[in-house]
């Protein structure tokens, strides 16, 4: 090999390394540094663990963490919905292609748009409550948006509505790649629908289900900003009832101009998601090994 051809691969990956280094590498190193500094403007003096102490001593931070954890409750519901719909689509029941186009729609619509729409639908005097009252279910006509004990559950409904579409997409992709002879053989054996689902289809989908669960956990802990920002009126409201860790970081950085505090919270969020990403890789490798 000539020296120039030995250099060629590095020339090809150079822009890639530079871009990833700038957008991921630099920030991921810098959050650790900032988290130990009292940053005013662009830099500041080292202050040890003071940022962490301040955050961990703040009830608002713990409330945010608790809200993120509460959102995890949405995941079993999302898995169940995604499983049922994707399995039915994969059976190619009459009209499945049209159904598929429709059930993917939530994933194509932007979160902020849907959040604005849902917020109006769930207003106290909005159509959802009007419908409930019309069905004589007055006791269920809650103040979905304005009550601080209900608001986060309402956000959860929106999250389930949209993130289930991702589950359907994922599961359907896996199901359509399955060998049909297995399920066909079970059909001839006379196994019923539920038995086939439980004993043959779900075991085959274990990898993709685990993958979806881990991705969803990361979403609930660290990627719900768009939902919360719109539904909670930009402030995690009413009060602090829909405040989450992402909004805490956003507020510390933009509204209070305390990058050090924001960085320390980012470090904690990064470490938690880092563990989950490690898990994700194990899950994926296992999924690939069984395929």
């Amino acid at each position: 090999m000539t020296p120039s051809s030995r250099l060629t691969p590095y020339l090809y990956v150079l822009p890639l390394v530079a871009l990833l280094g700038f957008v991921f590498g630099y920030p991921l190193l810098k959050i650790f540094e900032f988290s130990f500094k009292m940053v005013r403007g662009i830099d500041g003096p080292w202050i040890g663990f003071r940022n962490y102490q301040l955050i961990l001593g703040q009830s608002l931070f713990w409330e945010s963490v608790l809200h993120n954890l509460q959102l995890l409750l949405a995941i079993p519901v999302m898995v169940a919905i995604s499983l049922i719909v994707s399995v039915l689509l994969a059976e190619r029941v009459a009209g499945w292609k049209l159904y598929r186009i429709i059930v993917f729609v939530p994933f194509v619509l932007a979160i902020p748009i849907v959040a604005v729409v849902m917020k109006r639908m769930f207003q106290f005097s909005g159509p959802v409550n009007e419908m409930l009252r019309w069905m004589s279910l007055d006791f269920m006509a809650l103040d979905w948006i304005g009550s601080s004990s209900v608001a986060l559950w309402t956000v959860m409904i929106l999250i389930i509505w949209r993130e289930s579409a991702l589950g359907i997409i994922l599961f359907l992709a896996r199901l359509l790649s399955l060998d049909e002879s297995v399920t066909e053989a079970a059909k001839i054996d006379g196994a019923g629908w539920w038995r086939r689902l439980w004993h043959i289809i779900i075991p085959e989908m274990r990898g993709v289900i685990e993958f979806y669960v881990v991705v969803s956990v990361i979403t609930m802990l660290a990627a719900v900003f768009s939902y919360i920002y719109i539904m909670g009126g930009g402030r995690g409201g009413p009060g602090t009832s829909t405040e989450v860790v992402e909004l805490y970081i956003f507020n510390a950085l933009i509204r209070s101009s305390l990058p050090g505090i924001a960085a320390a919270a980012s470090v904690m969020l990064f470490l938690v998601t880092g563990i989950l990403i490690f898990l994700l890789f194990n899950v994926r490798q296992r999924a690939e090994a069984t395929q």
């Binding site: 060629t8 691969p9 590095y10 090809y12 990956v13 822009p15 890639l16 390394v17 871009l19 990833l20 700038f22 630099y26 920030p27 810098k30 959050i31 900032f34 662009i42 049922i84 719909v85 059976e91 029941v93 009459a94 159904y99 186009i101 429709i102 993917f104 729609v105 194509v108 932007a110 979160i111 902020p112 748009i113 729409v117 917020k119 109006r120 509505w161 997409i169 994922l170 992709a173 896996r174 629908w193 991705v215 990361i218 660290a222 990627a223 900003f225 768009s226 920002y229 719109i230 930009g234 992402e246 970081i249 956003f250 950085l253 990058p259 980012s266 969020l269 990064f270 998601t273 990403i277």
Partner: protein, 276 residues
């Protein structure tokens, strides 16, 4: 087929899918129907079809709010970041898939794991840096960040795809005396159109729909994206529901039209894109 349709099981299955489809469409239906009502009409009837459809809401939205301007801003960001990321990823993924060099596996592993890092973790240092460099509220600054955020997925998808291209094709081109770059542009890329379409669909959707980066890094009114614009717009017209819905119809129209026109590409893109 007809015998199967009569089975009770088939009826239940149809019913389940019908309900799921209805729920998936409810917000869209509500949005469109409400946008066609007057304020008075909405106050009387929040659920039904508009008795006397009006288009005034759409007119006021387009006259009073810079929706088209916001859309243009979003389009600039989508185009800039998707083109930049695709070019960089094609080069990088081609090297990873076809050339032997030190650090190749590490690069792919690191890049792939970055897919799962939530964007919120990166914003603090980038914002501080951009403030110092005067890059807050610049297209260049935001395009760089978006391009970076979508690149790990692009590299993963393209590397996987390039590895499926038969080796004989490369070797034949090599023997013909073609250089690496010629092989990439003349042999590999024309074969890669399906993967490239997937990338463009998934990545455009990401950038177009993003709110977090947009409100932090494009604070200037003139640079506001559609999603950031929506959050301002919906706050301002909080009590005028039909007007707000008209705005949402306009905001969702571009992606909706693209989805209906290019269902096949979207569905294929989402299904292969989802397997990250």
């Amino acid at each position: 087929m007809s015998a199967q349709a009569l089975q009770p099981g088939a009826v239940v299955k149809q019913a389940v899918l019908l309900i799921a489809s209805f729920l998936a469409l409810v917000p869209t239906l509500y949005m469109v129907l409400t946008a066609l009502k007057s304020d008075a009409g909405y106050a009387v009837d929040k659920l039904g079809f508009p008795r006397a459809p009006v288009i005034d809401n759409f007119r006021s939205v387009l006259v009073d709010s810079p929706f088209l301007h916001w859309m243009l801003n979003s389009a600039v960001l989508v185009a800039g970041s998707v083109i930049l990321s695709t070019a960089i990823s094609v080069l990088g993924a081609y090297a990873i898939a076809t050339m032997a060099f030190r650090g190749r596996n590490t690069l792919l592993a690191v890049s792939t794991s970055l897919m799962a890092v939530p964007p919120v973790v990166m914003i603090v240092p980038l914002f501080v840096l951009y403030t110092r460099l005067g890059m807050v509220s610049t297209y260049t600054g935001a395009i760089l960040i978006y391009a970076g955020l979508i690149t790990p997925f692009s590299v993963y998808l393209l590397t996987t795809f390039f590895r499926t291209v038969p080796r004989e094709l490369y070797e034949a081109a090599h023997i013909d005396g073609a250089g690496q770059f010629t092989i990439l542009t003349k042999v590999v890329l024309p074969l890669s159109m399906p993967a490239l379409v997937t990338l463009v669909v998934v990545n455009s959707l990401y950038v177009w729909n993003d709110l977090l980066i947009a409100i932090i890094f494009l604070q200037d009114d003139a640079k506001r994206t559609l999603m950031a614009g929506i959050s301002v717009f919906s706050g301002r017209y909080n009590n005028q529901v039909p007007l707000t819905m008209a705005g949402m119809v306009i905001a969702s129209a571009p992606m909706f039209i693209l989805y209906v026109l290019f269902q096949k590409q979207f569905i294929r893109g989402l299904m292969s894109g989802a397997i990250k």
